[in-house]
């Protein structure tokens, strides 16, 4: 057998840093800072109610609007509830809502993108046209419609947003799916007799993961803003349940009366988390695009 290789078995290129930590490090200081913020927000979402120093739900009107003082770092809101406790308790619904939207939009969007890219032809044309129609409906409009039909609440709002975002996800991912579909390794698997479903699930989608993760991260930020707006309008989470969007709205009168803290604090929480998701998402997106140059 003359098939000799072994003289220099060094690989052609040294392998790049791999794994989640390596990925994080490569997003730079801003990316790492964002990831920290997101991690904190997640912890709060999970354990917020337990960490709250005071009861977030019990009103005590005599204490309304009192600013930061002894033990109450952020003061009291319009019904005399501790603002910090409400923020901590509200983290849950404020984060879970967007999560549901992201999962819904990503799963549906990925499915449509991959199926359209795999089958191409008529399926692709029909899917693209259908998506184009959905594009015409902004998320908030759909959420208002959903509230009108199904009643206000987080479920209806989140579902409406997921449907509204789905075409965007599908559009972005379709390009990547088409590119993978056209690669010779996919053709090699087809020639082997592997089914379309197994090739899509085991090969095409995993190779799109960097883009999917980046897209989901950015989407989370948008969903958070939109859901906060919907809750602000009174169509999402209903008061008195703690939620950052609701808190902005219900404490709004305080801004003009000289007590901006409760509204502002809730707003800052939203802004902080959204920026973190955006920054991290953009960095991941850049890396995902660069990987394909």
């Amino acid at each position: 057998m003359s098939a000799v290789i072994g003289v220099s078995t060094r690989p052609a290129r040294p392998p790049a840093r791999s794994g989640a930590l390596g990925l994080l490090r490569s997003t730079g200081a801003a990316g790492i800072a964002s990831a920290v913020v997101i991690a904190v927000a997640t912890v709060l979402a999970a354990f917020g109610p337990l960490l709250a120093p005071y009861n977030p739900d019990l009103p005590s009107l005599g204490l309304a609007w009192i600013g930061p003082s002894g033990g109450h770092l952020l003061g009291y809101d319009f019904e005399g509830r501790d603002v910090l406790s409400r923020l901590l308790a509200g983290a849950q619904s404020s984060m879970v809502g967007p999560l549901a939207v992201v999962i819904g939009a990503m799963v549906l969007g990925t499915l449509i993108a991959v199926v359209a890219a795999w089958r191409q032809g008529l399926t692709d044309t029909v899917a693209s046209s259908g998506l184009d129609i959905l594009f015409a409906f902004p998320g908030i409009l759909l959420a208002v419609l959903a509230a009108a039909v199904f009643g206000a609440g987080l479920t209806a709002a989140a579902t409406a947003l997921a449907i509204a975002y789905m075409p965007y996800v599908a559009r972005v991912l379709r390009g990547a799916a088409l590119r993978e579909r056209g690669q010779p390794y996919v053709a090699a698997l087809e020639v082997q007799g592997a089914s379309g479903t197994s090739i899509c699930l085991r090969h095409i989608v995993p190779n799109m993961l960097p883009l999917i993760v980046a897209q989901a991260t950015i989407l989370f930020g948008w969903a958070m803003v939109d859901l906060a707006a919907i809750s602000f309008l009174g169509l999402g989470v209903q008061p008195p349940a703690p939620n950052w969007g609701v808190m902005i709205s219900e404490n709004q009168p305080g801004i003009l009366q000289g007590y901006p803290m409760p509204s502002l604090a809730a707003g800052l929480c939203i802004v902080g988390v959204v920026i973190a998701f955006n920054v991290l998402g953009e960095r991941l997106f850049e890396r995902a695009q660069a990987a394909h140059r």
């Binding site: 003359s2 000799v4 290789i5 072994g6 003289v7 220099s8 060094r10 040294p14 790049a16």
Partner: protein, 341 residues
Amino acid sequence: MTGAESAAAPARQEPLLSVDGLTVLLPVEGQQRAVLRDVSLQIRAGEAVGLVGESGSGKSMTARAIDRLLPRGAEVQGQIYFDGADVSALSGSQLRGYRNKVAMIFQDPRAHVNPVRRIGDFMTEALRTNLGVPTADARRRAVDMLTQVGIEDPERRLRQYPHELSGGMLQRVMIAAALLTEPALLLADEPTTALDVTTQAEVMAILDELRRSYGLAMLFITHDLDLAAAICDRTVVMYAGQVVEIRRSELLHSDPLHPYTAALAAARPEIAQKASRLRAIPGRPLSAFEAPAGECAFAPRCAYAQPTCLTAVPELTELDDGLSRCSRAAELRGHLEAVHV
């Protein structure tokens, strides 16, 4: 120039291009890695020199260094002289003047031409902006040149866009464009690798003919020994970022001076007969930074290696009007003929 180098370029005149001890390091994954090590070669006016090597040999990088097209962060040691001037010291209008005199043709013409501009605009740009030639004049010259490279209906071609031309046509246009500024030196970086073999033969013939008629010097880069030998008088063979042999082209097969050259020629299958097995070189071609330091880069794969080959990097030594970076060159001479099993 050292004695060895000047012997390989028996100068009745100063060489047009002189590369002297060129070492280039590039940042790769945070570290500076050598891609060229101590590369020296000369090209006389009107002379065609081939530059042959496999992956990692540094042949493309050499051309880019000469044309000052190295990527950001590249560290360059050694000198490159063109017409007596130090190329690295040129700037501004001098650099533009240099670019007029040294024209480069790339492997993929589409990547080096603006797709939204017409062929005519692209071809006449250098003439109009750098040399101040009036537009009508420039277009006339472009038409004339397109005819010389064998394109019919050249006026119509000038009005077309790059995507309307096939790869072979576009490469001819690139050659024509390169010749328009009347350069003294042509750098051709694998100009025919992406072309069909019949198109390649045609483009090679044009390149050879025009080069001779305009008296241009040329550095022709390729991975194909026989292609270089077809139109170049001398051939430089590179391995792992170093020059390992410089030889008259017609002697590469019959009397090579370095085991790598002989092995490379022998590894290629023949069109005239089938061998039971090819004489493959074990291992794979290395880049400069992968080659172990302090020894001959080719030794691990060489059929003639001896323990002494692993103790020091051999120098380029002169032998029969050629150069070889093999410490055993003199004694192996005559036994390296590229034969098939």
